[in-house]
């Protein structure tokens, strides 16, 4: 008997960053290294790949993303990439989290400055 997993109301900050990077990169390009690079490029913060790896593991355990092995690639010593696919539950969680953030940020532009 399969137990249906409840959709989480919101994501932790780093989980949200990983989810957003995976969405941006798409199902054929999102994997640990590219996700870490994307977050670093956009936020300017240094991201450890080990953190990305464990976060993806955790999101997968929650059913928000799934992973599959890609093709072996020469620059990886002939080893495949584990590609990350955002599941509908993951999309819902991203939406819920961003909605909550936007709702909270609304009206505070004058105080905290305009979000980039």
């Amino acid at each position: 008997m399969t137990q249906k997993r409840a959709i989480p109301d919101s994501l932790a900050e780093f989980e949200l960053l990983v989810m957003l990077a995976a969405l941006r990169l798409g199902a054929d390009e999102a994997y640990t290294v590219s996700i870490a690079d994307d977050i670093t490029e956009r936020t300017g913060r240094r991201v450890r790949r080990a953190n990305v790896y464990t976060t993806v593991q955790r999101l997968e355990a929650k059913g928000l993303v799934s992973t599959r092995l890609g093709e072996p690639r020469p620059e990886r010593g002939g080893r495949p990439r584990r590609l990350v696919v955002v599941e509908p539950e993951g999309m819902a969680a991203v939406r819920a989290t961003t909605t909550a953030i936007n709702a909270m940020v609304g009206g505070l532009g004058g105080i905290i400055g305009e979000a980039g």
Binding site: R48, R49, N51, G77, R79
Partner: protein, 903 residues
């Protein structure tokens, strides 16, 4: 260029199943980028750091998954109940290994746990009393001479009034007194003159009557005594109306007011208790008798709190009484520590580290059992291959073999622990004999009860033994199993005994050769001690050590000097001699300061001329010396062989004459006539001989009458000084049975002087029995060890040979099919194990020769060398016995067996 190999190996080991490939890929990709941007060294370094980070993250994730059960099955091996069940099955299936291995491990655990418990009793003793760890001792420490100052009567009174951190502060002093229950029967007891608070500190109530109370401590109060259970049982015949009876303690009558329960011996090892009535006003500070002070920590107070309060009191005392207290520092400590103040810090650590020796024994025995288990595992190689082929990981197989060894170890531990209690009782009895000066007893906290720490230590020993005996062979048998599987060579003899096993076999054979030899020498010593012919009819003599209470002597002579005490003692013993000699059962009486057969200590002496060079050029001639009554040899009916005996005139200090024995003449003078030569002390074990003192003239020669120095039987005799000596041994020549004379002796002594104590009343031919019993204990221990080593060794050789045959069955079959002589084939197969056995025998024989001859090879006599060679031959034959069955098996192998083996 790929990432460093170790990082890949690490990731492969730690990544969850199915995830290693892509994580490695990530690492490789990142490493490739770094190599493009940075130097190879920096790139390797950064990749290494990232690999460690990844590993840490993987470990955290693995732990999290393990807790939540969400990340699938862990790849770590787990020992299941099934493994233990299989372990039990293996015990039944291989009864020989179970018996030999189990016995060996049980012995190792017995020795290990027993040693740990015994050392714990010494290093960190526990008082078997209610909250015994809160009972403390308080004392003054004299920093100028670095020792405890027990003359602390004034301080005791001050501390008792002032100390708020210690409850029920009390004191006691040790006394040896005769207890005279009925007229004509006096026996010494160990008495404590003790404060009434002692019974509150110990929290033990009397079994009958009452304990000592504060009112008893007043000088005018009636004299009372509380007796111990053992005294009540043995001296009063368990009299239910003992309370109220009057007994004499030495010369004073006392009323029995109570009986303490069985096992109560507080404060140390006491038989009876009388009130402490010392009055500080009778003595100046730091004068008077020595006392020991004890108490119980007040509620919520620590040792440090007490020490802080004592420091204040000490400073005050130093300021008030600088002449006596300038160097005194009050101290508090856990009660048993006051008896063993040296057993702390590094000394205790050093003592406890002797457990390491026992661990070595366990490691050696474990390695031996491992050898057997490896041979068994090798015969199960096919089973292990099948399990591996079905997906069992190497670690899983190792875990199973570990579980099997653990089952064996657990059974062995149960047997070992059961033996520890028995062995400990034995060891404590031996310790009392060896260290407590004959009649003494160990403190009451030395019991054979096992502590929780010992049980825990036993569990650790068991796991360690199982790890050595189970994991080592498992590692060996599973090494490269995947490769062997791929090459289809598994099960066909790919396994070999390696260097470690060779070393194990050589060591155990060497020990097998050594241990019986050591047992033989020890047994020879015991037989020599028992059969020592002292040259006279010692079974017709009763010996006794005579001691006198100093206090009673002072009372009799009103002179407290030592000379007066010795004089009084001499008069008393002479009077006893006179009275005994008047008894019809007594033939004669004489005195000595060392009894025949007992250990006399050694003295290094030199002669004025004629001495042969000593065997040991550094220590010179070491011989025994003793002092005797002038009529000693007459009473013993031992003839003077040359020269003359002693007479009364020799007892004055200027006479300086000695009589030597025949072994002395042979050992020191090479058989030359000693009469007229002179000897003097150079150095010695005993206090009388540290300066190269005056010369003594040798005036006579007697036979060998039981002088023992540890360096042979050579010895000489002084006449007893006329001023007396204390204590002294008396030897009484009796008619009839010597053992039954003891009650007469006690009655005669009691009638003469109740303060004269008679210790160790035994027939003279039994005085060395305690030493013999100790040696027998060690012999039994050694014999057990020898048996274990022998059985293990033979089983090990058997296993090694069987292993060689089973591994090379195919080779033997093919060689035989090709026309080879089976005997030559067998010899070729067994060359390696036989070489190992030969090396072991050589090493063991060398050890035995070393023990017999010492370091100096010139000392090895031809007869001894022949004996050693014969012994080596015997041990070779014994070791070869273990080869018979495997050899027969090898000789019987036919080509068809080889074909069947392959099938």
């Amino acid at each position: 260029m790929s990432a460093p190999r170790w990082t890949i190996a690490l990731i492969r080991r730690l990544a969850p199943p199915g995830r290693a490939e892509d994580v490695q890929g990530d690492l490789e990709e990142a490493h490739g980028r770094r190599r493009a941007e940075r130097s190879p060294f920096v790139a390797d370094l950064l990749t290494g750091i990232e690999a460690l980070e990844l590993c840490l993250a993987l470990l955290v994730e693995r732990a999290r998954a393990g807790r939540t059960g969400q990340a699938g099955e862990s790849s770590w091996p787990r020992v299941s109940w099934l493994d233990f069940k299989l372990g039990f099955r293996m015990l039944v299936r291989y009864p020989g290994l179970t018996l030999v291995g189990g016995l060996a491990l049980a012995f190792a655990i017995w020795v290990g746990a027993g040693t740990f418990e015994f050392l714990s009793l010494i290093v960190s003793p526990r008082l078997p009393l209610d909250e015994g760890d809160r009972i403390v001792a308080v004392r003054n420490w004299d920093i100028s001479v670095n020792r405890a100052e027990s003359r602390a009567l004034h301080d005791f009174v001050a501390w008792r009034e002032a100390l708020a951190t210690v409850d029920d502060l009390g004191a006691y002093r040790d006394l040896e007194r005769n207890l005279i229950v009925e007229e004509g029967r006096a026996e010494p007891i160990r008495l404590a003159e003790i404060s009434a608070s002692a019974f509150r500190v110990a929290r033990v109530s009397p079994f009958m009557g009452r304990a000592i109370i504060e009112e008893d401590e007043h000088a005018a109060a009636p004299a009372v005594i509380v007796i111990g259970y053992e005294v009540w049982r043995s001296r009063f015949g368990e009299d239910p109306f003992v309370v109220g009876r009057t007994v004499r303690v030495g010369i004073e009558p006392h009323t029995v007011v109570g009986v303490m329960p069985e096992g109560f011996e507080f404060p140390r090892a006491h038989d009876a208790w009388t009130p402490l009535r010392l009055n500080p006003l009778d003595y100046a500070r730091r004068e008077g008798p020595g006392i020991q002070i004890f108490g119980r920590l007040a509620r919520g107070v620590s040792l440090a709190d007490v020490q802080a309060e004592l420091n204040l009191l000490g400073q005050r005392a130093t300021a008030d009484f600088p002449r006596t207290h300038e160097h005194l520092r009050p101290q508090v400590m856990h009660y048993p520590r006051s008896f063993y103040y040296t057993l702390s810090g590094w000394y205790a650590l050093a003592l406890m580290s002797s457990n390491l020796l026992v661990l070595l024994l366990l490691a050696l025995i474990g390695a031996n059992v491992a050898l057997l288990m490896f041979a068994r595992a090798a015969t199960r190689e096919s089973e292990i291959i099948v399990r591996s082929a079905l997906g069992a990981s190497r670690s899983r197989i190792i875990a199973q073999l570990f579980a099997e060894a653990l089952v064996l170890g657990a059974l062995a531990a149960m047997v070992g622990l059961a033996g520890v209690k028995f062995g400990l009782t034995w060891a404590l009895a031996i310790a009392e004999t060896e260290f407590m000066d004959g009649g003494g007893r160990l403190p009451f906290w030395f019991t054979s009860r096992l502590s929780p720490a010992t049980l825990l230590y036993t569990a650790l020993l068991t796991v360690l033994g199982a790890a050595i005996a189970g994991v080592l062979p498992a590692l060996k048998v599973t090494r490269g199993i995947g490769a062997r599987l791929k090459q289809a060579s598994a099960g066909s003899g790919g396994l070999r005994f390696g260097g470690v096993w060779t070393a194990v076999i050589v060591i155990q054979v060497a020990l097998t050769v050594t241990f019986p030899a050591v047992s033989f020498f020890l047994r020879r010593d015991i037989v020599q001690m028992r059969d020592y012919d002292v040259g006279f009819a010692d079974e017709e003599f009763v010996s006794v050590r005579l001691e006198l209470d100093r206090q009673a002597a002072a009372f009799a002579t009103s002179d407290t000097s030592r000379a007066a005490f010795l004089q009084h003692f001499a008069v008393t013993t002479q009077e006893l001699e006179r009275r005994l000699a008047a008894l019809p059962a007594v033939t004669a009486v004489t005195f000595t300061d060392e009894l025949p057969r007992t250990y006399h200590g050694w003295n290094q002496i030199e002669l004025d001329e004629g001495a042969v060079p000593p065997r040991d050029s550094i220590y010179g001639h070491r011989v025994a010396a003793t002092s005797i009554d002038p009529d000693y040899f007459d009473v013993l009916e031992a003839p003077i062989l040359a020269g003359r005996g002693f007479h009364a005139g020799d007892q004055i200090s200027d006479a300086r004459v000695v009589i030597v024995n025949q072994p002395f003449v042979k050992q020191v003078l090479g058989g030359l006539n000693p009469i007229g030569r002179r000897l003097r002390y150079v150095a010695g074990e005993s206090a009388r001989s540290y300066d190269p003192g005056p010369w003594y003239e040798i005036v006579g020669v007697v036979g060998d009458h039981g002088t023992t120095s540890g360096y042979g039987r050579a010895g000489f005799y002084h006449p007893l000084p006329s001023g007396g000596t204390h204590p002294i041994y008396m030897a009484i020549h009796v008619r009839g049975d010597a053992a039954s004379f003891a009650p007469r002796l006690r009655a005669t002594a009691l009638a003469m002087d109740p303060a004269l104590r008679l210790e160790n009343v035994v027939p003279l031919d039994e005085v060395a029995n305690a030493g013999i019993r100790t040696a027998e204990f060690w012999l039994a221990l050694l014999a057990g060890l020898t048996a274990i080593v022998l059985i293990l060794s033979l089983a090990g050789i058997y296993a090694a040979m069987s292993f060689a045959v089973s591994r090379r069955t195919r080779e033997i079959g093919i060689r035989v099919a090709l026309g080879a002589d089976p005997r030559r084939v067998a010899l070729a197969i067994f060359r390696r194990p036989l070489t190992q056995v030969g090396l072991g025998i050589l090493a063991g024989t060398a050890l035995v020769a070393f023990m017999i001859g010492g370091l100096d090879a010139d000392d090895l006599q031809p007869a001894q060398a022949g004996m050693i060679a014969a012994y080596a031959l015997l041990m070779t034959v014994v070791c070869l016995l273990a080869c018979i069955v495997p050899t027969r098996r090898a000789l019987r192998i036919q080509p068809t067996d080889a074909l069947r083996h392959d099938g």
